[in-house]
């Protein structure tokens, strides 16, 4: 404790309070985006046809748009990647469509393009509806299971801090997807669930340290205990988040088009999660009136359980 100067404590407290307000603001902005713009749901959730193909030479988006609209009877969305050589075409479920392999070859011949089909997908719209329900159920189950685990493991104020941080992380990542109009598909949902795990990881480690310090020094004010906990876990948090972010960047840049959204979700999620573990999960218990002696009693109970 002695190594912790009062100046540092005051600074860290200010930072925490400031970032708490910032977190509230972020959640507000994210919710605004979600309610006004919604999510750009991917094929997994909406159903329909998806055709991916590559062209030998690069083609401008507008040219491809023109060629396709001359050929395809129904409405469609087309997007390009890798300098206009990799194309993703989306059509709704009820659109008139011929067998994808045949029409692509015909289309290529008609426009004198060298097209290689890559991936073609059809998902019925009823599956999409089900997936939304299932995905929501998964998020809910995960949250409830984690809440149960947390309430068994921690005092309720600490658990609440972790939980608020968790919601904050998920909402902000969803907000990023909404504001930037990124496609939200099944892999993103999977990464959100993984994120729930990781987000708690940081919060729990800070919480663990707080618990340890509270048991050891019940005389110190809570403020300085929290700050000490943050300080002593800061190096670990930075290293772990750093290496994880580095590997996610590797996925982002090298693993190809189909994992980009996944990488974006995890990248923002880890940044937001790291930040919220300090701004929210450590600060909220303090606002809820956590005191060091809550753990003095708790410790005795735990001592009986432990072998």
């Amino acid at each position: 404790m002695s190594t912790l100067s009062t100046q540092f404590t005051e600074d860290l407290s200010k930072v925490r309070l400031f970032s708490l307000y910032a977190a509230v603001l972020f959640v507000f902005i994210a919710l605004l985006g979600l309610f006004t713009r919604g999510l750009n749901l991917g094929l997994d959730f909406t159903g329909g046809y998806l055709t991916e193909f590559s062209t030998e030479r690069s083609i401008a988006q507008s040219d491809m748009d023109k060629m396709l609209s001359a050929y395809l009877p129904g409405s469609f969305q087309v997007s390009s990647a890798e300098n206009g050589t990799y194309w993703t075409l989306r059509q709704a479920d009820n659109v008139q469509n011929t067998d994808s392999k045949i029409w692509l070859t015909e289309f290529a011949q008609q426009n004198q393009l060298n097209i290689t089909p890559q991936d073609s997908m059809y998902i019925g719209s009823q599956i999409g509806e089900e997936l939304i329900n299932q995905g929501g159920l998964a998020l809910l189950t995960a949250t409830v299971a984690i809440l149960l685990y947390l309430s068994l493991r921690f005092e309720w104020r600490l658990a609440m801090g972790c939980l608020v941080a968790l919601f904050h992380d998920v909402i902000v990542v969803l907000g990023v997807f909404s504001w930037f109009g990124l496609s939200f598909d099944l892999t993103i949902l999977a990464s959100l669930l993984a994120l729930i795990g990781y987000s708690l990881n940081d919060s729990i480690i800070v919480g663990d340290k707080m618990r340890e310090l509270m048991r050891a020094n019940d005389k110190n004010p809570l403020e300085s205990i929290i700050n000490a906990a943050i300080k002593s876990t800061l190096v670990r948090t930075m290293i772990t988040s750093g290496t994880t972010l580095a590997t996610i960047l590797a996925i982002w840049f090298f693993a190809g088009e189909s994992l980009k959204g996944f990488a974006v979700a995890l990248f923002t999620g880890i940044i937001v999660g790291t930040y919220s573990s300090i701004a929210l999960s450590a600060t909220i218990p303090q606002l809820l009136g956590l005191k060091a002696d809550h753990y003095q009693q708790k410790e005795e109970e735990i001592l009986c359980d432990l072998p």
């Binding site: 991916e52 067998d99 392999k101 290689t116 089909p117 890559q118 991936d119 073609s120 997908m121 059809y122 998902i123 019925g124 009823q126 599956i127 089900e130 299932q134 998964a138 189950t141 995960a142 299971a145 984690i146 685990y149 493991r153 099944l186 892999t187 949902l189 999977a190 669930l193 993984a194 729930i196 795990g197 990781y198 708690l200 990881n201 729990i204 480690i205 663990d208 002593s232 876990t233 190096v235 670990r236 290293i239 772990t240 750093g242 290496t243 994880t244 972010l245 580095a246 590997t247 996610i248 590797a250 996925i251 840049f253 090298f254 693993a255 190809g256 189909s258 994992l259 996944f262 990488a263």
Partner: protein, 611 residues
Amino acid sequence: MNQPINRQHHHRQNRWRNLIILVTLTFMLISALPNLYTDKVKLTLTNSGEHQQQTTPKYFKDILAQANIPTDEIRVSNDEIVITLHEAADQKFATESLKQQLADGYQVTSSLTNEAPAWLNAFAAKPIKLGLDLSGGVLFVLEVDTDRAQADRIKNIGQELKAIALENKIRAVNVSPLNNHALTVDLTRASNEAKDTLFPQITKTYPELSIKKEQEHKYLLSYTDEAQQTFRQETMKQTLKTMRGRIEELGITEAITQKQGKNRIRIELPGVHDPAEAKRIIGATASLEFYQLASNTAGFGVIHIKDENGRQLALNGKAIFSGSNIKNAVAGRDDMGQPLVNLTLDGIGGKKMSNFSKKNIGKPMATVFSEFYRNADNQMLKTNKIINVATIQQHLGSQFSITNLSSHQTAQELALLLRAGSLTAPVTIVQQRSIEATLGEANIDNGIKALTVGVSITLLFMAFWYRSLGLVANVALGLNLLSLLGLMSLLPGAVLTLPGIAGLVLTVGMAVDTNVLIFERIKEELKRGRKTLAAIESGYNNAFTTILDANITTMITGVILYAIGYGAVKGFAIILCLGILTSMFTGVFVSKALTGLLVRENKAQLLGVKS
């Protein structure tokens, strides 16, 4: 006092621990090794024909080269020819080309072998199964309309009741379906004994049916909720079996067929290039039934179906027997060269046919081909087509043939469908995906690239930041990846997908966390003035609860993801969960053993904190 004994005990414990770690890691290494070798398809050609002619390897190489199929090895011996293909994905195509080019005498069988050396094969270790997004292939998700099957079952029961009434000369039996799982029987104007004859007979065939008296002389025959559920499960089981049979008939060996959710079936066909053919066979809901032509067109339970000439035919509502009684079906040609399908019936079918044909020589019998399809409004409809009406010439047994088929291909497809079993419930394709093999390869390449970069950054950072202990962490990380690969190869249900590779890369980043937590803890203990060995011991012990806490939450989400996810997402969940297990094993136990070794060699300095 007890100090020396304690130390000795401790020492022995350590030795045991190290031995267990060593055995586990060796086991993982052996399990992971087959991944270095690729799977190869071997085609074996045997000549069953009498006139054997000497062939040269070049002859086969040319046949395959014409079809653009590269070969690794061709061995020609007296009685068989073994061809090893370069690409496993070419298996089906190569078999077809060979069959087309070679005389009928040859039989082609294919087998999948791993190139691994013999001693490795002795362990029966297999490489990781690749998901469709990595291997290329076709995915179908089928929806089984169990409600429709239930409704059909009720309709059948109704018809059977009428038939029983007719046989026993009971008049005025009024049957009307109520909904898809119940029907009402009105016996108001029937004789009093009617129900004593009717109901025991019907429950003999359908024991799951429950009979309830609604009013005087009015009865409700229904499937209880429980019976409905059993019926649904049975239907799904039968459909799955039929699908597996059909896929086997198509000659696809590495297919995955599994139930998805309550009434869906997921079929993954790796290495299939042309989804159209597979789709026609898998998606077909064809069934075949044989009916007697009704003598009285307006009679009891008569159904009307148009034949190909537009003629309306009246059939007796109850089929003589159905496709499920067919034991074998082979396409062939008659003496005139017309296509036909030769059928062999099972015991029940044969008996039904025998009884029926004996009584009805000289009378016509119709073969009805039914198919389900979805219309524009997404409603399931059934079309019935009469493929032929034949006069029964003689007393038929369990073997006879269906003629009047449009082409030899139709005959072959019909035979295939009948062989593989017909479906009692209509199925529709609700999801389809075909991934080119080249995209799969590109995905693997990209995945490996991302993994290499991710691992390199992490290794470099750890070595730079923690110096000698960083080396421990790095060795642990390498062993972690090895164990993860080994576990993935070991578990029969584990499939590697592209999100799975992302999970693998992510695991690397996260696995470091375990070591970082421990090392930071050791640093803290050292700063408090503990001796190196004591600091290491308490560092590992104290950090363990925190590590457990932090990993359990990720484990919870991983398990939930595994439970609800399918395909690629499931692949991600598997890696996530296994990665936590292996990183706790290598991060805590293995690196503790390694640190022990390191410290014994170099006690002077650790983590930049002098002890």
